[in-house]
């Protein structure tokens, strides 16, 4: 920990990290597309898991070990499981037509457009000197509870409200 590493490309030569990055990216994107295009919800959920794990890989590549860990634990573990539970408790065949809508071609064009713009922006951005550095867990914890205490505490309230809200809304339909 605490090591630093220079950025991916060096004079256009493929480095190991770039290769790894490309592989992980492909996994991520493929997983994401799979979620969108899959007609079966269960499949979609597992593809989502693939995509989320890919993101964890990218975090690792960026030397953000903590985030990678959290990503695996929370998204890979908790959230996907909850989603699966919910799907199993409901009739999954209701979702057959989820991806049908008439604006698909337009949406496709716009998404491509946005993708191109953001890619151009990323390439044009002058960030050649950026050095990847990893952070001590303890430093992260320290800054979360000191400098960033407010957003951190507010985040807990967000979760609380979400929890209460979920209960309130789901009990809405029940008669007294």
């Amino acid at each position: 920990m605490g090591s630093t590493q220079e950025s991916g490309t060096e004079g256009g030569v493929l480095t190991e990290s770039l290769v790894v990055f490309l592989i992980i990216s492909v996994v991520c994107v493929a997983g994401g597309l799979g979620v969108v295009f899959s007609r079966n919800v269960i499949h979609a959920t597992f593809l989502l898991l693939v995509s989320l794990m890919g993101v964890a890989g990218i975090f690792l590549l960026l030397l953000a070990e903590f985030l990678a860990l959290v990503q695996v634990l929370i998204y890979g573990g908790a959230i996907t499981i909850v989603v699966l539970f919910v799907i199993m408790l409901t009739k999954s065949d209701e979702f057959e037509s989820l991806v049908d809508n008439s604006q698909k071609p337009l949406a496709f064009l716009i998404s491509i457009g946005l993708f191109v713009v953001m890619t151009v922006a990323a390439i044009a951005a002058d960030n050649g000197n950026t050095v990847r550095a990893s952070l001590k867990f303890s430093d992260l914890g320290h800054s979360l509870f000191t400098d960033w205490a407010i957003p951190f505490e507010v985040a807990s309230l967000v979760l609380l409200v979400a929890l209460i809200g979920a209960i309130v809304i789901s009990k809405q339909g029940e008669e007294e």
């Binding site: 919910v86 409901t90 209701e94 809508n101 604006q103 946005l114 713009v117």
Partner: protein
């Protein structure tokens, strides 16, 4: 001029008590919920009477001490102090007198005229509010306060035209009046803000001072002045924004007399007179004023010739005379315009109140074809109406003669002779329609259904007689008037005098010949003019045109925009069923009306368009 606080209660500064009394009356009537009670009228009349008393006192003080301004801070916009301030000068003193006096008489008249009405107290409450706002309008020393009062009188006019709101036509007319005058107000507000931008103040005298020093860019001042004039056109019913005034006759007749003849509609004239130096600096603007005034005078007069509803004749006559006043302003003679405003206010209030008396005495008849021969049944009303009509026709030595003659001279002096000739034609028509109304209502044979007609009670005739008396002698104050305003006396131009007299008397004679003696058949005359007569009786189809514009342009644009909004937005409304989420079964059926996709897509498009626009610097 001194800038004093309100708290100083001496000399002309007590003027602010006049609107304050009326506001107090309004607040009392509304807060004590005296909407149906008779006490409302007492409170209101006491308030306006004390307003008139204050005028008398202020007038006396003014002659001794001269103009003054006083103000109290209201709030600040940045470093600009917005004040509640009042300016006492010749203009505002005159208006103070006209408003309090006519309002007092009209309110007394209303006690009897409106006694059958429910919401009697409400009627007087709004009258008080109107009087207060009108007084603030004329006393205001800054354009912002003037604008506030300007909108408030519009609101009161809306409430009073729509007083019989159960009547669809009344409330439509009220809405039309409100919206049409507001079109002018858009211009007025932009104009005021334009002036503020350069001057950094709303203070009228400061703005005038800056303009005279050349502090404004020519184009700015020109634009501002013309925009403000647009506001004046709306309020003072100048062509082509005059269409609301005839419809406003749906309101109770005393309201027509007060608001739509004597006071509110002259606010535009007052406004132009108030900032007259600005018009002088932005020179060609006065030509616009003159042209608008002249066309209004002549067009409205031609319509008045063919109207059959007594109040509509009077309404178009009001429009025409407002045109004369604008013409006088446009010819550079604002003192003359104010003088005509003064004589016209009394004469026209008199005519309207007499028309109301006719209406009252005959059980609500206003169509001149159904009236006739009333002079024996309603002698007092007949006399007062005749005085009013002759005054407006410009018969010497009544008030209207002097003021009209002054206008003609001013036009001759200040404008091309063509203006003068057209004005003479308008004056001629004005005589014809006045004598026509007089003859058709009061002379000829009494219609059998009008046998029951009777003279109105004293509470109605007393104000008529007072106004008639004033109309008789109003012309005599002319020279005093000019002294009061420090204006120079015109030398009498006998050519102008002769032509103007010829126009009035000739018009009267022609009218008498057609409608009384029937030497000339009115049908033949009408036939001579062919389609023109038809156009005139339909107000030259301006209403139809405007309606068409609203239906075919504004509403269609609104539909297209909302259609566009609906292509992406939900069709009719949230429909409930399509979107229901039953969490018990976790059945998300949002796909069927899946507009959410469209909304989200629109957002992404928005982001992309905005981002690229900025990047490429497209705008």
């Amino acid at each position: 001029m001194m800038l004093l606080d309100f708290t100083v209660m001496e000399g002309v500064q007590v003027a602010w008590l006049a609107p304050a009394a009326c506001i107090l009356a309004f607040v009392l009537i509304v807060s004590l919920r005296m909407f149906d009670s008779k006490i409302g009228s007492v409170i209101s009349i006491v308030a306006i009477a004390s307003g008139f008393a204050i005028f008398l006192y202020v007038f006396g003080q003014f002659n001794e001490s001269g103009p003054a301004e006083f103000a109290r801070e209201w709030f600040t916009i940045g470093s600009t102090k917005i004040t509640l301030g009042m300016a006492i000068d010749q203009l505002s003193v005159v208006m103070l007198g006209v408003i309090t006096f006519v309002a007092l008489l009209v309110q007394i008249y209303s006690v009897s005229y409106m006694e059958e009405e429910s919401r009697f107290g409400w009627y007087f409450g709004v009258h008080s509010l109107f009087a207060a706002s009108m007084l603030i309008l004329v006393l205001a020393n800054n354009l912002l306060l003037l604008y506030v009062a300007w909108e408030l009188v519009g609101l009161c006019s809306y409430l009073l035209i729509g007083f019989w709101y159960e009547k669809r036509s009344a409330s439509e007319a009220a809405k039309k009046a409100f919206i049409t005058t507001r079109i002018g107000d858009v211009g007025l507000l932009i104009g005021i803000i334009l002036l503020y931008r350069t001057a950094g103040t709303f203070d009228t005298s400061t703005i005038i001072h800056i303009a005279q020093e050349g502090g404004f860019a020519d184009s700015t001042l020109m634009a501002a002045v013309l925009l403000i004039f647009l506001g004046a056109m709306g309020k003072s019913a100048q062509f082509p924004l005059h269409v609301w005034l005839p419809d406003a006759m749906e309101g109770p007749t005393p309201v027509s007399a007060l608001i739509h003849a004597a006071t509110m509609v002259v606010a535009g004239i007052y406004l132009v007179a108030r900032i007259f130096p600005l018009f002088e600096v932005a020179d060609p603007s006065l030509t616009v004023v003159a042209v608008v005034g002249l066309s209004t005078a002549v067009i409205a007069a031609s319509i008045a010739l063919v109207m059959t509803d007594l109040k509509k004749i009077l309404a178009y006559s009001t429009v025409s005379h407002l045109g004369f006043m604008m013409l006088a302003l446009g010819s550079g003679a604002y003192v003359v315009a104010m003088f005509h405003l003064f004589t016209h206010a009394f004469a026209k209030a008199l005519l309207f109140l007499s028309a109301g008396s006719v209406d009252h005495g005959t059980g609500g008849k206003r169509d001149i074809r159904q009236l006739g021969g009333l002079r024996k049944k309603m002698p007092i009303t007949f006399v007062t109406f005749s005085i009013g009509a002759l005054a407006l026709a410009g018969v010497p030595p009544l008030g209207g003669f002097f003021s009209k003659d002054e206008i003609m001279m001013a036009v001759m002096d200040g404008r091309h002779p063509v203006f003068f000739l057209i004005a003479i034609i308008a004056a001629f028509m004005s005589s014809v329609y006045m004598i026509r109304a007089l003859i058709l209502v009061f002379f000829g044979d009494l219609k059998p259904e009008n046998q029951e007609a009777h003279e109105s009670p004293a509470l109605i005739t007393a104000p008529l007689l007072i106004l008639a008396g004033i109309s008789l002698v109003a012309g005599l104050v002319l020279s005093g008037w000019q002294d009061f305003f420090n204006a120079k006396h015109h030398d009498i131009n006998f050519l102008v005098l002769a032509l103007s007299l010829l126009a009035s008397l000739g018009g009267l004679f022609l009218g008498w010949a057609i409608y009384s003696k029937e030497w000339i058949s009115s049908r033949d005359v009408a036939a001579k003019f062919g389609d023109l007569e038809k156009y005139a009786s339909n107000g030259y189809y301006l209403d139809v045109g405007y309606q068409w514009c609203i239906d075919r342009i504004v509403l269609v644009v609104a539909r297209i925009v909302s259609l566009f909004d609906r292509i992406v937005v939900n069709d009719v409304a949230v429909n409930g069923t399509g979107y229901s989420v039953f969490l018990s079964g976790f059945k998300l059926r949002y796909v069927e009306t899946g507009k959410v996709y469209n909304y989200a897509l629109a957002m992404v498009v928005g982001i992309l368009v905005v981002g690229l626009t900025i990047y490429w610097g497209l705008i």
